[in-house]
């Protein structure tokens, strides 16, 4: 109980510190490190949502993120893309989320019938299909991507007021995080986790497994879509390269570095990835071999802590608790968003 309260306090503390960071750091750091980490973290959260609650690793999340981004780019005034709508950015963003959820449900209907490696392969295939679709349909993706996508006026200029989009991203990330934690406790969320743990039993109990999984995939698509919309608000640009196979793998890396079974891990992984990506280049030994260096960091983390950085945190926390009360059973303090199950 105390531990759960402590976790909430830590969480609130982190959000408060995060909210004042733009006053401490330069515009560049706020925009290119912090905001980028929040957006990538949000995309990774959609992946971890499915992994932690559903036991599924999906490689289609970045594709869905792209669907949202390209939809916004095509509906508003921008350089490239359909160029016929010039819709209001808020309406376009809302429509983009609707389209993304519909695409997510469609993928979910097909993919939810599979498990494990087959699910991974099917979602990878969808990710590649979405990328190829936008690459080939230049009417939708422009000649060199969609550029100069307008931003909501309230965000001001990305160069001069980078803190505004940062705060918007932070607020949405906090809401999504709380939403996922809430979802885990709802009957629907519990049924979803039940399916992860014992599918035949849930089916025998009368649950419509395919429907529940499809809807959960739609929710994950919504989270990925939010990240995709925020990405074009922030970067004012998207091209098929954004959702290529390389970035898909990097998103998976972010989730695994952070910890595939803890929602918080999404943002931890994203922050580590973004900082390393930005700073490793300046290390003489690394230079242009950034991808190799990232790969080594990834390997180290996976080898030493399969639960990622959040796994290390969790282990240290439970060790600390054990040392405080020798007899206390090492039970995870809150254990809500991290219902890790042996053999899962």
């Amino acid at each position: 109980m105390i531990s759960a309260r402590l976790h909430w306090l830590i969480g609130i503390g982190i959000v408060i510190v995060a909210a004042v960071l733009p006053f401490v750091f330069s515009n560049f750091t706020t925009s290119q490190i912090l905001t980028r980490a929040l957006i990538l973290g949000l995309a990774a959260a959609s992946l971890i949502f499915l992994a932690s609650l559903g036991g599924w690793v999906s490689l289609a999340q970045l594709g869905l993120y792209g669907v949202a981004g390209f939809t916004v780019g095509n509906l508003v005034q921008a350089d490239g893309g359909a160029k016929v709508f010039a819709m209001d950015i808020w309406l376009a963003s809302l429509l983009a989320l609707v389209v993304t959820v519909l695409v997510g449900l469609l993928i979910g209907v097909i993919a939810s019938r599979s498990e494990g490696i087959y699910f991974l392969m099917i979602t990878l295939a969808f990710g590649v299909i979405i990328k190829l679709l936008f690459e080939k349909a230049t009417d939708l993706s422009g000649f060199g991507g969609i550029n100069q996508i307008i931003q909501p006026a309230v965000l001001g200029s990305a160069q001069l007021d980078p803190e505004r989009i940062y705060w918007v991203c932070l607020a949405i990330c906090v809401l999504v995080y709380l939403g996922i934690r809430y979802f885990a406790h709802t009957p629907f969320g519990l049924a979803f986790q039940g399916i992860r743990d014992n599918t035949p039993r849930m089916r025998a109990l009368g649950y419509n497994v395919t429907l529940i999984r499809t809807v959960a995939f739609g929710i994950a698509a919504f989270i990925a879509g939010l990240a995709g919309v925020l990405n074009v608000w922030w970067n004012t640009q998207i091209s098929p390269g954004t959702i290529d196979i390389g970035p898909v793998i990097f998103l998976l890396m972010i989730a695994i570095i952070g910890g595939l079974y803890r929602i918080e891990g999404a943002w931890v992984g994203a922050l580590i990835y973004v900082i390393l990506d930005n700073r490793l280049r300046s290390v003489d030994l690394v230079g242009e071999r950034v991808a190799t260096a990232l790969g080594i960091v990834f390997l180290l983390i996976v080898l030493l802590s399969p639960g990622g950085v959040m796994g290390i945190y969790k282990s240290l926390a439970s060790r600390w608790r054990r040392s405080r009360s020798e007899s206390g059973a090492a039970r995870d303090g809150d254990g809500t968003a991290a219902p890790t199950v042996a053999g899962d």
Binding site: T29, S31, D79, G144, N147, I272, R279, L304, L316
Partner: protein, 474 residues
Amino acid sequence: MNIRNKRWGWLSATLLIIIIGIVAAACGGSDSSSADTAAADTAAADTAAVETAAAAPEKKIVMGFLSNCEGPFGPFWDATLAGYYTALVQFAGATPVDPADPKAGVTGAMVPGTEIPIEINTDYGCSDDKADKALSEAKRLVEQEGVNILIGPLSGDEGIAVANYAKTQPDVTFLNGISGAQDTTLKVQAPNFFRFFTDGAQWTAGLGAYAYNVLGWRTAVTIGDDYSFPYTQTAGFVSEFCSLGGKVTDRIWPALGETDYSSYIAKLPNDVDGFFLDVGGTGTVQFVNQYTEVNGNDSLQGKVMGGAFISNPAIIKELGSKVEGVVAGSALPSDATDANWTTYVDAITAAFPDQAGNAANIFLAGYYNNTQAAILGLGAVGGNIDDAAAFQSAIAGVEISTGVGPVTVDGNRNAVGANYVVQVSDKGATTLFTVPDVDQSFGGAFSADTPNPDRDNPKCVAGNPPPWAASITK
């Protein structure tokens, strides 16, 4: 217990490594954030009160480099660096640190005619052919490293994204590396983005007129990989060939990376005079092998015009007599012996002897041209870049000396320069003739209002041939 302790040791060690890494990164970040603030202050001073501007010290010149060290163009990283540094050695009096390794950089670069140093940022921008990556690297160099003259990027989509970004950074001057999309200058038109090397369509200048006037073609088919670069190259051929009265009856677009071209070859009609071939990479070899298997070893001669891919020495070596006689467009001659070319090759040899063989490599030449333009522009303003607009208008006025002769830029800040029509032989590619003063608009066929080159555009329309077409005759 012992095992558990060991495991904890490992875990703690990892955690420690990560924490050290992040702290080190954060320290690096805070260093540059102060540089950022300084840069922002300077920028504010420029736009604010006059007395502040007068009191502020002259802006330091920091030159940055953005190319591809990963992805499909990663192998050209050294060549692009060699082009960049050769220009600094030749025109800014710099000395290579290690003539065998362009990455090691140069020392002592100065604005020509002054003692003002040009600071070279060595935290190179490293992209991977993706617009996002190029953009985030450009932002890192400009906003974090304080670069105020950026040379790059390398490929098409990257160029468009960086040119758009340039519009948000009017105090920074951008010069393209070797990205070849038309849009970058023709449509984006950022006032502070320059390209002192011709675009992908300009590299086919002269081919359409050669096919129509010299070979007597009246109908043609195009076949090229299904993505933006072949669209642009095909656009150059189609617009010139059609403007003279030729007809393009079909445009065939195999997927990039196709390994079996038999169905496409079957689609090529027999009743046309020839075709424009722009299938790249390993696809060129596969296509030609399959085509000649069906139609005979000498079946390509007189029947094929090629884009930038087919005159590549490696392709010629691989295909030998099968491509003998094929005519192609090229931005650089590989067999030139005139003074321009010799001076250019000598400059590379003097700076980086191992790179002399790359003289005819457009990746090296593109970075060389653009860096040279930046240096000459700096010379023209005496190294004073406090007034970015004045510096940029000085760059717009410079005439650079390149391996293909003088190059200037047009109103959209895109190069106007020579192009080559070459013929493949067993010795490599021999220049048939030079097309001087090729401009981006192809005599008005391309403008900011025309549709982007794609599978169906530009349309095949007769009339208004480009100015060079009339002089290409038998």
